[in-house]
């Protein structure tokens, strides 16, 4: 992409962005000092990444468990291929659904649609999922609720082992 920053500066900035902005008035100035560039060049580069769709979202990233959102379930469903897009889009817009993805079935894995639902506790999440399935007339489709019982690791992805953007 067209940027005032060298490839090395872009990679360094990328790693710093993965760790987040400093909690000071001018966080891009902090980045600029780290990579020997200017605040303006850094901001323009980050805006460029945003415009090109490199970010899913940009803002505060919370650790939901620390905020009392203690239950999370991965709802997996086997939905007919002909209507999986329609169902996916409907569930993706449903309240309380944080993520909704289509993934491949495998010989020992029969489900192709995945939703993440978070909530304060397990009972509330379970009730919400049952309601969702009813509303979308999906109770009869094969499905399974995979509650998480422990988080071993929770952080953003690191893409930049060798690659660049």
């Amino acid at each position: 992409m067209n940027s005032a920053l060298s490839i090395a500066q872009q990679q360094q900035l990328r790693r710093m962005l993965e760790n987040g902005l400093a909690l000071t008035s001018r966080p891009y100035q902090v980045f600029a000092e780290q990579i020997n560039s200017t605040e303006q060049a850094v901001i323009e580069h980050v805006q460029g990444l945003e415009e090109q769709g490199f970010f899913r979202r940009f803002g505060i990233v919370v650790k939901h468990r620390a905020l009392g959102i203690n239950a999370n379930v991965m709802l997996v469903m086997d939905i007919e291929d002909e209507r999986v897009h329609q169902v996916g889009e409907a569930l993706g817009e449903a309240p309380g659904v944080n993520l909704c993805y289509r993934r491949p079935r495998r010989p020992d894995w029969p489900y192709n649609l995945f939703c993440m639902v978070h909530g304060r506790d397990r009972q509330a999440v379970e009730a919400h999922v049952i309601e969702l399935l009813q509303q979308h007339n999906l109770q009869q489709r094969p499905h399974h609720l995979l509650f998480s019982t422990r988080a071993f690791k929770q952080r953003g992805g690191r893409y930049n082992q060798t690659g660049t953007i």
Binding site: E18, G20, L21, S25, R26, P27, Y28, Q29, I43, V46, E50, Q52, G53, F54, F55, R56, R57, F58, G59, I60, V61, V62, K63, A66, L67, I69, M74, H85, G92, G96, L99, C100, Y101, R102, R103, P104, R106, D108, W109, F114, G119, R120, V125, A127, L146, S148, R150, F152, K153, Q154, R155, G156, G157, R158, Y159, N160, Q161, G163, T164, I165
Partner: protein, 154 residues
Amino acid sequence: MDDLCLRMLDRFQHDLPICAAPYQAMADELGCTEDDILQRLTLLNQRKALSRVGPVFEHSRAGASTLVALAVPEARIEEVAAQINAFDEVNHNYLREHNWNLWFVLTGPSREHLDQTLEKIEQLTGLTPLDLPMLTAYQIDLGFALGKNSQVPT
């Protein structure tokens, strides 16, 4: 957590302006001072409730990613979870209630890199991973609703 903190979280888990003084921009929109914002973010950080302020990268543009599951025998959970955690490519490693019980996301610069990582995981653990790359995303990720208009089931 006070009302301003909840409003801040509900409004700015997405669409934070990319500008020289982003915390001032937040303050302007929420009708408070930049210090009010920085104080609350610092407090969230001290309480280990803040991961960061910044981008959540789009996997499909920013590199490759896949969801992986392992069927780990009960007695080996701790050992295998630690082995998996040690990979820099791994994030969001969870134990879930299913025969496929260890679920994690792999991210890397390319699909080839992920294939190599999956091979290493199989060699290291002796377990065959279930590899489930995303085919379609149906939802725009807006973070977690926490405030009055929360859609999080309580």
